[in-house]
Each structure stands twice: as structure tokens, then as C-alpha cells.
Amino acid sequence: MSEYSLAPFIKKRKGRIMEKAIKRYFPLFVMPTLIAFAIGFIVPFVYGIFLSFCKFTTVVDWSWVGLQNYARIFVVNGKLDTSFLHSIWYTALFTVTSVLIINVVAFAIGMALTKGIKGTNLFRTAFFLPNLIGGIVLSYIWLMIFNAVLQNFSKTIVYSQWYAFWGLIIVVCWQQIGYMMIIYIAGIQNIPGDLIEAAKIDGANAWQMLRNVTLPMLMPTITICSFLTLTNGFKLFDQNLALTGGNPGKMSQLLALNIYDTMYGTTGWQGVGQAKAVIFFILVAIIAVAQNKLTTSKEVES
């Protein structure tokens, strides 16, 4: 991959000096970021994996227990514990639903707001605004709205796990659609005008334009947006904590909240929480990489 980017420079003397300089000072420029990355990510990550094999109270007070923590995620006292499995499929379902809704709606709004209708800027700003409110605050506000409406039917948002589910979907969509819309707008505006003109001259109708010009040209954008919404869906925590708190009875716990709850709710189970976190990481990593591969392969050059 790298040879093509430097190729034009190699023939020029100036470029060669530049390349040498970059090679020589490379460590100097990378160092600060690398150190920060190591302290903030690599070290805790490796240490976290290590701790998942230990029983510990604080991170410096541990004793090695091997795979016991991993076994306990599923089997406790000889009985199957389904709470983690439940939150895995609940989270998966939540993520699929939210990815679909957010991307379809954000794309539709993005299309509408690039047609040059009156007040476009006002609409763009208005749709983007919810994203500026923090997840906790947004969820508390929505909690009040939901419960005020549901009160008329003598129900609450934690009436059942499906009420909680759709409540979460609404909040998350409300928050993220505006953000994804902005990315879609940028993508749509980047489609070359001559391509659209050529398609029009060839007599393509609106549907054919969308299918054969807009969507293929938007694939890089779709890759980014689906990646962001997918990982956001899996990692969702604030909204879950503030809106449902996992109620009714841990049934609406998404993965992140389930891990948090194990870590701090169950006495002496910090190690199990850590083991769950490692599994969580592997799961999200696999899915995100697969998704990236899938959508990137559909990208085209104009």
C-alpha cells in the first residue's frame, strides 16, 4: 500500500530529502501519541486481560484463579446463568434495529436536505442539535416524556423489556440520526455533478439514479456510518443506565450495563466482570471488522 503514495517523490531530490527527514524524525513525532496510546489504552488493555484470570478487589490486590471467571459467566453453583446470554442477544437485537433505523432515516433526511428546499440550514441544525446533549441528560428528559405519556395507560417505560427496548431505540435514534445525517450530506454533496448529469442524459429515473449512482458512490459514507452506529449500539451505556437502569429485573440490561453491574453489584465478582469485558471486546471486534470488510468491498471508484 505504501509504495504508491511515496512514488512521485522518489524521483525528485527534494522529495528524497523530505523522505529521509521523515524517516529520521519519525520516532520523535510519533512518540507523544504512542506514549499516550500506550498509557491510555494498551497497558490497561493488557492488564485487563490479565485481571480476567484473577480474583481481585482492587487492581493491585489480585490472586490467580485461571479460567474460573470465564466459567462463572455461564455456570454458577452448577446452574446455568442466562443473564449474560440474555443481554448478548438483547444487545444484538438492539444494535441491528438501531443501525437499520438510524441509517435509513439519516440517509432519507440527508437526501431531502440536499435538494435545496427552503430552510435547509435551519433543518440541518435542528436535526443535529440532540446530539449535543449528553446521553444521561437526554435519557432523563425522555424518561419524563415517556412516563408522562404512559401514565395515561397506567404503565411505565420499564413495564416490560420490550417497552424498555423501544424506549431505548427512540432515544438513541433521536440522538444519533442528526449526526449520521451530517455525514450523509457530506457524502451526497461529494458525488460529482457530471456523473449525475450523465445519468440524467441517459434517461435514468429517480429510482435508477438512487440505485446505480447515489448508493454506489455513497458506499464509503455508508461504511463509516454503519461502523459508528454498530459500535455505538454495542457499547451503549449512559442511555441504558439513565432510562431503564436494566429494569424490569435486569431484563433490559445491555452488555455494557451487565458488565458494570457484575463488576460493582455482585460482591467479589470483579474478576467475572473483567472476564465478561474481555469477551465483550472480542465480540465487538469481530463484528466490527466483519462489517468493515463487507461494506468496504462494495466501494467503487468514480
Binding site: T57, V158, G246, N247, P248, D261, G265, T266, W269
Partner: protein, 478 residues
């Protein structure tokens, strides 16, 4: 136009990242030390050499459990530093974040030397961090030795305050009710068992409009709402269930606050009776109790309810100088035991604490010495006693708190009144709960189901019994 959008976007991103940054700060860190004070004290120390040797040469770090006492602790720490030159750091964990804060703070090299322990179960979790307080002056001054937690042959932690809970009631309205025609009782004193309380609450609830007309009150129900949201359900899954546990442990003859590995739910029917009374004599819609929209304290404060189950920490909220707009003040209020229908004639208020000081055994010996000296100063000096009683409003269990340092909490003083009348205080048996957050969550779920959606009471009982054994086994295995 495009540039404009870009700049708006950039601003937006900046603001949102700032907002995100604010959210993650879970502990208010304010150091109660100042360089100047230390130097000043060092200069003085030649004069008061004795004082500074007593205080030790280490430093003290208190990780405070009660957010509302943060200001008073900071002042107290500064005073101590001024007098002795010993550094005292006070950090207060945000409400509900004590465990997360403690776990990360203990892992640091400058770890807390004093931290809070709630129950015997906590002792097991922090077994490696517990210093034996048997020879400390703290333990020596403790009036009721049962308020110390013992673990593994050690005095693991010593209570720094004790609290009581029961049913707070508006005696002004209740006395007015007694004077009405057809009232179930003619004097408040007649309420001394569950049947009477239930009859009174039901009658008040049925005749709300009539009472409002006669007394000029604005009642909506007898009991304040029994919220099942996470901000309120501990009153029932913790405190009310505590009575069921108490009588069960009493029958079993085991330690009342350390509990035992199995419970039978023998007194859950009593729990059910009390619970049914709470929800049937309240104006709140039973089907939406977990919405978090109810504020029971406010209902009592605005004179909309007569009864409210809670503890003496509520006293400050109803103080006349509190500017929260309540029309009901401490003059109107009193507290009675939660009559549980088991042994009502002998039952007093529920007295106990979740606040115990433990000293970090992994700190250096110097720091431990300084810490013990500091704690001794807190409970013996005028400044310390004044701060605890008058500024923090706590009831301290030490024999040094006499005269002007006796508690001024009107609810706390009811404890002695009931005790003087020959009633036995109920111990805080819910302190024995294994994996307390989990057990309570598992108990509240079927209770909510029962209350809001006509679920079966058997499920509540199953959760109470089975989950207790389950979590007990989990937290006691090696």
C-alpha cells in the same frame, strides 16, 4: 455557506466533547490541606512539641461516604492541619459511587487510610485492607460495642454514627384527625400495633375530602407514595425487608446483623400486609410506582400525606430554616416504629448504621498512627465533636458526646423515648444481605410485578428465599 456549516460543526464537536468530559468525574476532589497552614503549624510545633508527636508524622486520607458532610469534613481537616501540621486529605465519593471510587483509590500508592465499611459482607471483600481497631481509642469510647463490626477475630470497623428509621408521621394532622367525629382512634398514642395503624390509615384515606374540609389540610392520601424506582425502592427492599429478616434471625438465634446463610421468608406475610397498606392507602397509582415521578418526601412536606416510611436523616429536610418550600416542619413531625404485626408491643425504632470507619492496614505504620490520632481527635476535641453533631447533624455512638454535643436530631431522640418505654430497638438486619445490590434488585423485580401487574406473591417469596441462599453461597466461597 459550507464554511459556516463546517465551523458550526467544529464548535459543536468541541462542546460535546467538553460535556462528555464533565460526566466522567465521579469524585469531588478537594484537598483539605494548605501549604501555608502546614508551614505555620511547623513553625509553631516547637512550642507545642507534645501535640505534634502525638499526632504522628504520617498523613491522613479520609474517603468520605456521605456527600452531604463534605463541607464540614474539609473544614475539620483544615483545622487539624493548622493545629498539628499533619496533612489530612478528605475526598468525598459522589452519591452512589462509593464502591467504584474506593476500589480505584485503594489501588493507588496514596491510598485512603480511612474508608467506609457498610456491613460484615464488606469486611470479607476488603479483608486484606482491614486494620484491627481493638486497641484504638475509637473502640474504647464506643458506647455500644455491638456497633463495631468484627471479622476474622479482628475489630474490623467502628461505627461513626447510628441512625434510626420508622414511620415518620405528621402529628399535627393526626391529632386533628383524632378530634374528628367517627375517628378510629381518640389519641395518637393508641396507634401501637399494626391493626390500629392499618385501620387509621385506611380511614384517613377513605375520608380525605372530609378531613381536608374539617382541618383545612390538603391531603391526597394517608401514606406517601411507595416509589419502586431505584431512588426509593431501598426503603422497602432494604429497610422494610429488614424487619422480616430481623424477626427471622431473632427466632433462629443467630447474630442479628451478621445473619445466616438461609432465610425462610417466615415473616414475609407481615411484609405483605404492611406493603399492601402502603400502596392501598396512598394516592399514587400503584401501576406506575416505578416511574420515578413520585417524591414521597415532598408529599409529606407539602402536607399531602400523613405517614412516610424513612429514617432520621430526613430530619434536616424538614428543619424550619431549610428553604425547600415545605409547609410541614420538624415541629409537626414525629416517628413511630414500623409496626410489623409480629411483636408490636415490644417493638421500637430500627437502630443501626451503614457507616463504619475502617483503617487501611496496607498503609505505612506512620500513616496508621497518624490516622488513629486524627480519629481520636475527631471524637474527643471540641472542634471535632461540634462538627459531627452540629454541622453534620449525626448521632455519634461515643461516650465523649455529652452535654452540648448530644444529638439534636428530633427523630434520633425518639429512640431513647421508645427504649425508656420498655421497647426493644430493632437491629439493622438487612446489613447481612449478601451481594446487597443484586439481592435487592432480584427482590424488587417480583415485588414490582406483584404491585403493578398483579404478579404472584409466591414469586416475591421465592426471590427472597432462593436469591438469599444463592448470593450467600457466592460471596462466601473461596
Amino acid at each position: 455557506m459550507k464554511k459556516k456549516i463546517v465551523s458550526v460543526l467544529l464548535c459543536a464537536t468541541m462542546i460535546s466533547s467538553m460535556l462528555a468530559g464533565c460526566g466522567s468525574d465521579s469524585a469531588t476532589t478537594t484537598e483539605g490541606t494548605s501549604e501555608a497552614a502546614t508551614e505555620e503549624a511547623a513553625a509553631e510545633s516547637s512550642d507545642s512539641a507534645e501535640a505534634s508527636t502525638d499526632a504522628g508524622s504520617g498523613s491522613v486520607y479520609l474517603l468520605n461516604f456521605k456527600p452531604e458532610t463534605d463541607g464540614a469534613w474539609q473544614d475539620l481537616a483544615a483545622t487539624y492541619t493548622e493545629q498539628t501540621g499533619v496533612d489530612v486529605t478528605v475526598v468525598t465519593a459522589a452519591d452512589g459511587q462509593y464502591k467504584t471510587t474506593l476500589q480505584s483509590e485503594l489501588a493507588k500508592s496514596e491510598a485512603p487510610t480511612i474508608f467506609n465499611i457498610g456491613s460484615t459482607a464488606d469486611c470479607a471483600e476488603y479483608a486484606n485492607y482491614i486494620y484491627d481497631l481493638k486497641d484504638s481509642s475509637l473502640y474504647e469510647h464506643l458506647t455500644d460495642k455491638s456497633l463495631a463490626l468484627e471479622y476474622d477475630g479482628k475489630v474490623a470497623a467502628v461505627a461513626n454514627c447510628y441512625e434510626c428509621y420508622g414511620i415518620i408521621y405528621n402529628k399535627t394532622i393526626l391529632e386533628g384527625y383524632c378530634g374528628l367525629e367517627g375517628a378510629v382512634i381518640s389519641s395518637v398514642d393508641e396507634i401501637d400495633n399494626f391493626e390500629t395503624l392499618n385501620a387509621v390509615a385506611t380511614d384517613i384515606n377513605n375520608r380525605v375530602d372530609e378531613i381536608n374540609d374539617a382541618l383545612g389540610t390538603n391531603l391526597t392520601g394517608a401514606f406517601a407514595s411507595a416509589g419502586l424506582d431505584s431512588g426509593s425502592n431501598w426503603r422497602f427492599s432494604g429497610h422494610l425487608a429488614g424487619l422480616a429478616l430481623y424477626y427471622e434471625f431473632k427466632d433462629a438465634g443467630c447474630d442479628l446483623v451478621a445473619g445466616q446463610g438461609t432465610v425462610t421468608g417466615k415473616y414475609l406475610d407481615n411484609f405483605k400486609n404492611v406493603w399492601d397498606m402502603y400502596i392501598s392507602t396512598s394516592s399514587a397509582d400503584a401501576a406506575t410506582l416505578d416511574s420515578g415521578a413520585y417524591n414521597a418526601e415532598q408529599e409529606l412536606g407539602l402536607g399531602e400525606a400523613v405517614f412516610y416510611q424513612n429514617g432520621d436523616w430526613e430530619y434536616a429536610a424538614f428543619a424550619p430554616d431549610n428553604e425547600n418550600g415545605y409547609i410541614v416542619t420538624t415541629d409537626d413531625l414525629s416517628m413511630m416504629p414500623i409496626y410489623f404485626g409480629v411483636d408490636d408491643e415490644n417493638e421500637g425504632l430500627a437502630v443501626g448504621t451503614e457507616n463504619h470507619w475502617a483503617v487501611n492496614a496496607q498503609a505505612s505504620q506512620e500513616d496508621i498512627d497518624s490516622t488513629l490520632a486524627f480519629l481520636d481527635w475527631v471524637i474527643t476535641s471540641d472542634e471535632g465533636r461540634d462538627a459531627i453533631t452540629n454541622q453534620m447533624g449525626l448521632t455519634a455512638p461515643f461516650d465523649t458526646f455529652t452535654g452540648e454535643f448530644e444529638s439534636k436530631n428530633g427523630f434520633a431522640s425518639m429512640v431513647n423515648e421508645y427504649a425508656a418505654a420498655g421497647k426493644t430497638s430493632v437491629a439493622w438486619s438487612f446489613n447481612a444481605t449478601p451481594s446487597v445490590d443484586d439481592w435487592r434488585a432480584d427482590f424488587v423485580a417480583p415485588l414490582t410485578e406483584y404491585t403493578e401487574r398483579g404478579g404472584s406473591w409466591d414469586d416475591v417469596k421465592t426471590a427472597y428465599v432462593d436469591q438469599w441462599a444463592y448470593y450467600w453461597e457466592l460471596s462466601n466461597e473461596q
